[in-house]
């Protein structure tokens, strides 16, 4: 940079006398930005870039200033997550030696959320599950000692990684059950075709210590749940195609299932449905649940919400309906809510915009146009 400054100084000296009294603008430095630590209103938006899918990325966006903060490149059909302390973004992805073809390399990459530089990577066996991103493609143990990566080849298993030592510790077969739902320091649950959860408990070295299969907690034939579990204080809520809410408590040694309840009345059932790529978000302190809902029938479970419905998790009552069409927004595919006292609701639409609402009132504050091609999942600290 010094040479630039020197040049600038010399150029300024050489310049003819300014016509105006005000001094000329000073020479500038070229710098590289770093980010302040996370705040609750920062959001990490996964753009799968579906029409150019080898070039997925995570966009960082600020819900207060409405500025884009930076980008984390994410390869092909990635999964991603934040570390429990929020300081690291982990991306599980696949690269090919010739862009869209050639030698396949599956990898997880760790990005420092302050510098947005990749600090290290762990190469995986070429088994990473290539599917829609959720919380459960790549996930940390609660104490961050393990990182779990979902594998599907199509045989289902998962990798146990040591993110500190940069190694793959183990591959654990899951008997056809998929995804990695982390709980505690050493448990991983997976969703099974039968509607059960398989829970594998690990020893200190990341090897399997034990496994157990739960009872079925939903009927995958008549009313399957979305795999997009919604984080609660002590577990995840799984919402079904018809709008049943299955709250699963993962705080114990084995998952415990609450009595399901319904987002819809008897007359609405089957006509109004949840749908999208991220079908719920919970403000944990207030117990508010936000779900994109649409009118539709069988097979409409990927349609976005024409309304966002708000529920009180304690009373299990709907407290608000927020239609998005009056805001000229396309249907909402993904929702996320900040966890602070003045919560923001983020909503990604089918037209690739991300809307920012006051989560208490539903008031629209901002629409960020075209936050990538296909923003499908929104994570926040």
């Amino acid at each position: 940079m010094n040479i630039f400054l020197m040049r600038a100084a010399l150029l300024s000296l050489a310049a003819s006398a300014p016509l105006l009294a005000a001094p000329p603008l000073p020479a500038e430095h070229l710098t590289v930005t770093t980010l302040p630590p996370n705040n609750p209103h920062r959001i990490y938006v996964l753009d799968d870039a579906f029409t150019n899918e080898i070039d997925a990325r995570v966009h960082l966006f600020d819900g207060d200033t409405y500025r884009r903060l930076g980008q984390i490149d994410a390869g092909f059909n990635p999964g991603f997550n934040l570390s429990p302390d929020g300081k690291t973004t982990v991306v599980g992805t696949t690269y090919y030696s010739r862009g869209s073809r050639g030698t396949r390399t599956d990898v997880v990459e760790f990005t420092d959320n302050t510098t947005l530089s990749i600090t290290h990577e762990i190469v995986l066996p070429p088994k990473r599950a290539m599917t829609l991103p959720t919380y459960f493609n790549v996930a940390y143990s609660a104490d961050s000692h393990f990182l779990y990566v979902s594998y599907v080849t199509p045989a289902a298993s998962f990798g146990v990684l040591d993110p500190a030592k940069n190694t793959v510790l183990e591959e654990i077969d899951t008997a056809g059950c998929v995804l990695v739902i982390p709980s505690g320091p050493n448990r991983v649950s997976s969703l099974c075709e039968s509607g059960r959860l398989l829970t594998v408990t690990l020893d200190a070295e990341g090897h399997e210590a034990s496994r157990a299969l739960s009872d079925a907690f939903f009927d995958p034939d008549r009313d399957p749940v979305f795999v997009q579990g919604v984080p609660m204080t002590d577990g995840f809520a799984f919402v079904s195609f018809l709008g049943e809410v299955h709250e699963v408590d993962f705080s114990g040694a084995q998952p415990a299932f609450h009595q399901p309840w319904s987002l819809v009345s008897a007359t609405e059932k089957g006509h109004w449905r949840p749908g999208g790529t991220q079908i719920g978000a919970i403000h944990r302190k207030s117990g508010k649940l936000f779900v994109p809902m649409h009118r539709g029938g069988e097979g409409s479970h990927k349609e976005g919400g024409t309304e966002i419905w708000v529920f009180d998790m304690k009373t299990r009552q709907r407290t608000a309906r927020w239609p998005v069409k009056p805001h000229k927004l396309a249907p909402v595919l993904a929702v996320q809510v900040s966890q602070d006292e003045a919560p923001i609701l983020f909503a990604a639409t089918a037209h690739s915009d991300v809307a920012v609402f006051d989560a208490r009132t539903g008031q629209l504050r901002h629409v960020e146009k075209q936050l990538g091609q296909t923003p499908w999942v929104l994570l926040n600290p």
């Binding site: 579906f50 029409t51 150019n52 899918e53 080898i54 092909f76 059909n77 696949t94 090919y96 862009g99 869209s100 073809r101 050639g102 396949r104 088994k127 599950a129 290539m130 599917t131 829609l132 599907v152 080849t153 199509p154 045989a155 289902a156 298993s157 591959e171 077969d173 899951t174 008997a175 056809g176 059950c177 998929v178 995804l179 997976s190 969703l191 099974c192 075709e193 039968s194 995958p220 399957p224 749940v225 979305f226 795999v227 999208g276 790529t277 069988e298 097979g299 409409s300 479970h301 990927k302 976005g304 396309a330 595919l333 639409t349 089918a350 037209h351 690739s352 091609q373 296909t374 499908w376």
Partner: protein, 184 residues
């Protein structure tokens, strides 16, 4: 499908760790062929924002959306055979409704669906395959999900990249191939 699902869930564990992927596929293929004449596992891709995509709009097809003509038009997402396609239509990418575009490879694993043909009022069993080895086609994005199920039911799921087992596992587009008439 119940028995097959159950078989898959309970038998794949030992296989997964000790068997190569290809040989696992072959083994499961035999199991399934013997059990129910159903080809193994889904196709396809997830995708959502058709209207927003640079290439997400359908080309100038002869048919108009919502019409009978659209249900008969392989360039339309509404074509009857595409009832659970989630991806780009190969017919808009240099292939056809049952042919991969030049230079791509069909996925060796596939899943089946049942689609109703309004012309002859029959239900057909179709095989959804992905065409693999080139980057996203980007044209005619189509997202239909009749009888589609989440990822824990892989034989009915179209969110997964069913090119996953290809030598070049990149997803390009999707086809729908008639296998035969469905049993009533």
């Amino acid at each position: 499908m119940r028995s097959i699902d159950h078989l898959f869930e309970n038998s794949s564990r030992a296989l997964a760790r000790h068997t190569s992927r290809r040989s696992l596929l072959a083994t499961l293929g035999r199991i399934l062929t013997g059990a129910a004449l159903i080809p193994l596992l889904p196709v396809d891709r997830s995708s959502r924002a058709a209207a927003a995509e640079p290439g997400g709009t359908l080309p100038e097809a002869a048919s108009v959306k919502g019409t009978k003509a659209a249900a008969d038009d392989p360039l339309s997402c509404e074509y009857w055979k595409y009832c659970a396609v989630d991806g780009f239509l190969c017919s808009c990418c240099g292939g056809s409704s049952n042919a991969c575009p030049p230079g791509t490879a069909p996925s060796p694993i596939t899943w089946i669906g049942t689609c109703h043909n309004p012309t002859d009022d029959r239900d057909y069993i179709v095989s959804y395959n992905d065409c693999c080895g080139k980057a996203s086609c980007g044209n005619c994005e189509c997202n239909r999900n009749e009888r589609e199920k989440p990822m824990y039911r892989p034989s009915r799921n179209n969110d997964m990249n069913w090119c996953m087992a290809n030598a070049d596992s990149n997803y390009h587009c999707s086809v729908s191939v008639i296998l035969g008439v469905a049993e009533k």
